[in-house]
Symmetry: C2
Subunit: 318 residues, 2 copies
């Protein structure tokens, strides 16, 4: 049997036909702008599923399920999208609408949870029973998997690890709180820290690195400057890793997962600059200290494909 996973992103709607081991056999994408309303979304999902069956040379009957990941809140039992950040839709009964077009099981899930599920089954979390993912992007997302199941909490909103205060009375967060981890460990926060350092040391290597990038500060700028021996860039990296580690150790002390995987753009930095210093710092701070029972901190493996793969696995986990 094959499955279809669809990742409803900010720009594109990406869909893939997946085999049981999580390989993407064929893939399609369309611009999210082409989706006008909830009827059109349901129709698009059904159409893409049929197109993937054609591309994959299989009858539609060989597709066991269709999964959809959205950046927002869902009601998994009813297959309802409560809201998404990227589409002007509220309370969309997606499963019901989809079934007007195609009679296949449809599952709906938050996209960060899809990514976590993908890593659990086919990536960095393979072989783990208790698995946590942290995604360092525009914000800080989280996914908690326990014995193959996504932990949803009582209302489907659990796992908002980015909105854990680590700096009391710290930076204001759009969520309403102050000092959320997201304000210190996201790519956005790293860029803000980099900009402040550049402004404080306007004649240094960091400024030069940014100038070479057409004046654009990126999440890589400080890491590049540090590799060129810049103390200012290195200080930004050190501070960033310390903030990152603070939240990671909070999660370890709370969950003690077998494996904690870090994904998102920032996680692509070299192990020497990111993962190794992070692991050393976390080993010193977390409970317990005996090394044979410590959480493994690793990089996520599936990158931007995790959304599609995890959405496809939504059917499998039931």
């Amino acid at each position: 049997m094959k499955r279809v996973g669809i990742d409803v992103g900010g720009t594109n709607l990406k869909a893939g036909l997946i085999d049981e081991s999580g390989h993407i056999l064929v893939e399609r994408k369309i611009k999210i702008a082409a989706v006008e309303d909830q009827e059109s979304l349901a129709w698009t999902l059904a159409q893409m599923t049929q197109d993937l069956a054609v591309d994959g040379h299989i009858p539609i009957s060989e597709i066991a399920s269709v999964g959809v990941g959205v950046p927002g809140a869902v009601e998994i039992h009813t297959g309802m999208v409560l809201y998404t950040c990227n589409l002007p839709m509220r309370n969309v009964p997606l499963r019901r609408l989809f079934h007007h077009y195609l009679n296949l099981p449809l599952y709906v899930e938050n996209d960060a949870n899809c990514a976590a599920l993908a890593e659990y089954y086919a990536g960095a979390g393979r072989g783990s029973k208790r698995f946590v993912t942290v995604t360092l992007g525009t914000g800080v997302g989280g996914g908690i998997i326990h014995n193959g199941k996504i932990y949803h909490g009582s209302n489907g909103m659990a796992g908002e690890v980015g909105h854990m205060t680590i700096v009391y009375d710290g930076e204001q967060c759009p969520c309403g709180r102050r000092g959320c981890w997201e304000q210190y460990a996201s790519a956005t926060a790293l860029k803000r820290m980099t900009r402040r350092a550049m402004e404080a040391y306007p004649n240094g290597i960091l400024k030069q690195v940014i100038a070479e990038n057409d004046g654009q500060i990126s999440g890589q700028s400080a890491f590049i400057a540090a590799r060129r021996g810049d103390a200012v860039g290195q200080a930004v990296c050190d501070q960033y890793i310390r903030y990152l580690c603070t939240g990671i150790v909070n999660l370890i002390n709370i969950f003690q997962p077998d494996t904690l995987a870090i994904g998102g753009g920032v996680s692509n930095e070299s192990d020497e600059q990111l993962l190794i210093p992070l692991r050393n710092m976390a080993a010193e701070e977390s409970i317990p200290c005996n090394r044979d029972r410590m959480t493994r901190i690793v990089k996520a493996q599936l990158g931007t494909q995790a959304g599609i793969i995890g959405a496809a696995f939504l059917g499998r986990k039931r």
Copy 2:
């Protein structure tokens, strides 16, 4: 069937015979100082179980299981006590030793987890599927219950919510980290804050309240002063609740439990002074904002009996 629960505390070893609904039928306690070594501990547990059967007028065969809660780390699958804070013992194969004296199923668990299990089955967590307890005592303990099961993590050490940093670079914690929640929300922390306020305002009502208590600062001092209209005492209470709330909202954003129960000495303060301001603050800060899906924040109901009751329930949950 009845069960025996035994709470190995700092001063006493308390044991109770429990019925299926969690009522303590008869109770016994001895000084922990009477326990000399691991053999003597195992023998004592067996002897107390037999004494409880006699006191309760039941044959030993009517006792379905014996549970033991210890303040420390255990290996639940083998019934081993890895270490405890209050006894100079390491790696005690308690189940095996106990079976030399009595052939009843023996379960071993961390005492904070026992308390959480008790509240889940017979106290503040009844009817909840996802339940978190926070105990405000010398430290801040936590217990996480998911569908009737204690969440242990990969190594049995999960749920150390007190060692979640909420104040980056804050107060030093004995665990090695800085700014742990425990350093701000425990009774110990409340006393420290009270002492500092008293020293800053040595002629106020707060000082007087403490003088009336033979000069002893307690976790109640600031609350009593506040009730007498003292602005300094009120400021301590406000600050304490704000710190408490920071960690509570972190846990809500991560777990979104149906119910979160607060226990320990501090939780005995009046609702007007503690629970209501805490609930209001948490409602403003936590995700999501829609009130019908919010975590209920309540007081724990079983007090110091939770340890015995939860230990007894260890057998039931399997």
